[in-house]
Symmetry: C2
Subunit: 448 residues, 2 copies
């Protein structure tokens, strides 16, 4: 189990981006919400297509499961990957509940399912989330406006899974095959919710790094960034203090006339900066994402990184010459995240790359996936609150819709989840890495 | 419990109408689908407004919970009835999950909840189903077309309940109050499904006469009409045979030149008939609905009826003079259903009255609520199959949409329900009256 487990942790993923940005909107520099922050993801992933042991299929999927307008009966083609090499009729079907990116990305990083497939003689399915990868209901116009994006949400995605799995089982004449769903991060939420909402289809769920309690007021809003900060503080008090102190230096530079030129040089940007806020985001992303993928082995999920990258970052900070500013030390540490592979001569600080097709997540945070986050005085980030009104107004301006901040807890629950799951529910494993900041919103015991 | 139980059985309700009609479409006369058959309901109910111990409230409800179009954020006002006279803060909240009619109708016929409220110090809520009664999302245009009707379905209705209950509990500062949902017939389906889908909101459900297995191929399609027939056969073999033989006589008359005049006279219609099919439907409705409300006491749910009305109908048939035709005996028996109160001088066989606001159900049968039914040779009705293609085409012609015949079982399950409920689920009581033909599609044991 051990090797698989470490691979499975890789599912801790990237959906703090917007939230980080939203919280940072209160920082004194300026808001950079709703600018996507995908430049932090691995650029070279685009060119590196891993050879996967799956066949690609497309399923004619209903656009809108929950209304019956003439338009909503429209069909789109949902992509899925299938591996039947271990399967015997009647054996289990393991389904990865694809999250907010290209399905190949998740398939390439889910060794666990492949590892256990022979033992269970399992069929493997990786089902792509609607509006991701090739599963675009309106082709290249899918992201045009709220009119098309309206169909992108978790409930429609869960219904997609139900319809596809049921149809596939029928086609395979293997209706008695037990189905187990697997997912990480948002995919972990989907896996847990799928077992809760469709217990007649999935017999169990392994929900990894699923922040099922990150909504509404279930956990303290500062939990996430406190956890990131604690990861660094636990390694080195000095490291934590240097990062915490670096923001004020950045603010001070930002007030200077030559701020952009100065920061462009200091941060070795490939192109001249247009905004000092980009630097904050660039640093912020490096620290947050590194905490999320602080694996004990060298790995390459978001970026190529060494084992225990938080320790490595802190080593860079702690060992830097005493004359260096806090900001330049923070830059050096962040460079580990962006350039561990030593392939970058300069940094595309403002250049947006989205190699994993993650751009739909921003819409979801502006509608259903409202995860309020703040930075407390204890965190290593600039203190900030969560201004819902401002957030909602930004969503309205961008998409013409308002978020529904209480919807997820209404639809899926979360409050008093222990009691609910004890009385109703079974076969859901919630797995969390305690250094992953998302674990604070995860369920850290499995009573059922 | 006994007196309440008999009242609770009253929830066996009217949603075979379309299905009866659909099945009858194969009878040799002609199809009368999709003509609604609401003339069978109590005309005078409109004028008799019972005084109910509830206050009326209206809740600003979201039109579309499952998409985020600018349009779908529209609000409509959902009606609910509330009784707080027995309630103490923290005590339970009993919710009737309103089905396909005016909410007062269900409130007036649910003595059970009022009976037990004092004992539990319970708050009582009767929540009207969207597109029923006064809860019209588009006012008088709500039924205009599939564009508006698209938002009428069970999943949206369940989400309405979740949002309303949650908001109300918050307003009452009584978030820890356990919620139990109650419902009969389609309302019973909603109650059971609500507990299954929203276990974090409802702690239990009493689902009365809920035909949770009446979908897809879970039970034999002939079950419903076989059960109706058995109710009559169990009382009198002769009665069953007379009714069974009456249809051929009706067909024979229908081929005659003066058929409409002849039948108008024989059936004492208030206005001349336009179609011989109306007579079939009129008779059919009387027998089916009487089987559905074959209570052991005099009652008045669909119509005023004596105790054991099936026995009374058969008494009329068995005691009629030997020279009478089978059709005229069937007419005499059916008259009991339409005129037990002796207030009718003639019958509005083709006059459509919908005193309970039930007209939305037809849309639901044409979209999600596809319950295939057939009449076997053993039934007392003309043998008929279920021609899905024809049914779908009729729906397409009327509404411009096609039914989704496998959707309910995909969304809510039903197949192998014993296993699913045993492994996952609790606190759902399924209650059924065995003479109620809907019981064949009900769950007749409660393992969880």
């Amino acid at each position: 189990m051990a090797p698989s487990l470490s691979i499975f942790f890789l599912f801790i993923i990237t959906f703090c981006v917007t939230l980080t940005a939203a919280a940072a909107g209160h920082f004194s520099l300026q808001t950079f919400f709703p600018r996507p922050a995908y430049q932090s993801l691995i650029k070279h992933a685009k060119t590196r297509k891993p050879k996967l042991p799956f066949k690609t299929r497309y399923f004619p999927q209903t656009l809108d499961h929950f209304s019956f307008h003439p338009k909503s009966s429209k069909i789109f083609y949902q992509k899925y990957l299938i591996n039947t090499q271990y399967w015997h009729k009647g054996s289990p079907i393991f389904v990865y509940t694809g999250n907010e990116g290209d399905i190949e990305w998740f398939a390439a990083n889910t060794g666990f399912m492949l590892d256990i497939a022979p033992k269970f003689r399992a069929l493997l399915l990786f089902i792509e989330h609607r509006f991701c990868g090739e599963s675009m209901p309106f082709g290249k116009d899918s992201y045009q406006s709220a009119k098309t994006l309206g169909y992108l949400n978790s409930q429609q995605a869960l219904a997609d899974l139900a319809v596809l799995i049921r149809s596939l089982k029928q086609n395979l004449s293997s209706e008695a095959s037990p189905v187990v769903v697997f997912g990480g991060s948002y995919g972990g939420l989907l896996a847990a919710w799928f077992r809760l909402k469709y217990p007649h289809i999935a017999i169990g769920a392994l929900a990894s790094s699923a922040p099922i309690l990150q909504f509404d007021k279930i956990i303290p809003w500062s939990s996430f960034y406190d956890a990131v900060s604690l990861d660094f503080k636990d390694v080195s008090q000095n490291c934590y203090e240097v990062i915490k102190g670096s923001w004020a230096e950045l603010v001070a530079i930002s007030t200077r006339k030559q701020a952009l030129a100065e920061l462009s040089k200091a941060f070795r940007t490939c192109k001249s900066l247009h905004s000092t806020a980009s630097v904050l985001e660039w640093l912020w992303t490096a620290f947050v994402y590194t905490a999320m993928v602080n694996y004990p082995t060298e790995a390459n999920f978001l970026k190529p990184l060494p084992a225990y990258p938080v320790q490595q970052m802190c080593k860079i900070i702690d060992k830097s010459p005493s004359g260096e500013t806090k900001l330049s030390r923070a830059f050096a540490a962040a460079s580990l995240y962006y350039n561990y592979s030593q392939t970058e001569n300069c940094f595309e600080v403002e250049y947006e790359v989205d190699p994993h097709g993650l751009h739909g997540w921003h819409w979801q945070t502006c509608t259903e996936m409202v995860m309020p986050m703040t930075c407390s005085n204890e965190s290593m980030f600039p203190p900030s609150g969560f201004d819902y009104k401002r957030f909602a107004e930004q969503c309205r301006m961008k998409y013409g819709v308002l978020p529904r901040p209480h919807w997820i807890t209404t639809e899926f629950g979360g409050e008093r989840i222990e009691k609910v799951l004890k009385r109703f529910g079974s076969n859901i494993i919630f797995s969390n890495g305690m250094q992953d900041p998302w674990s604070r919103g995860g369920k850290r015991s499995s009573p059922c």
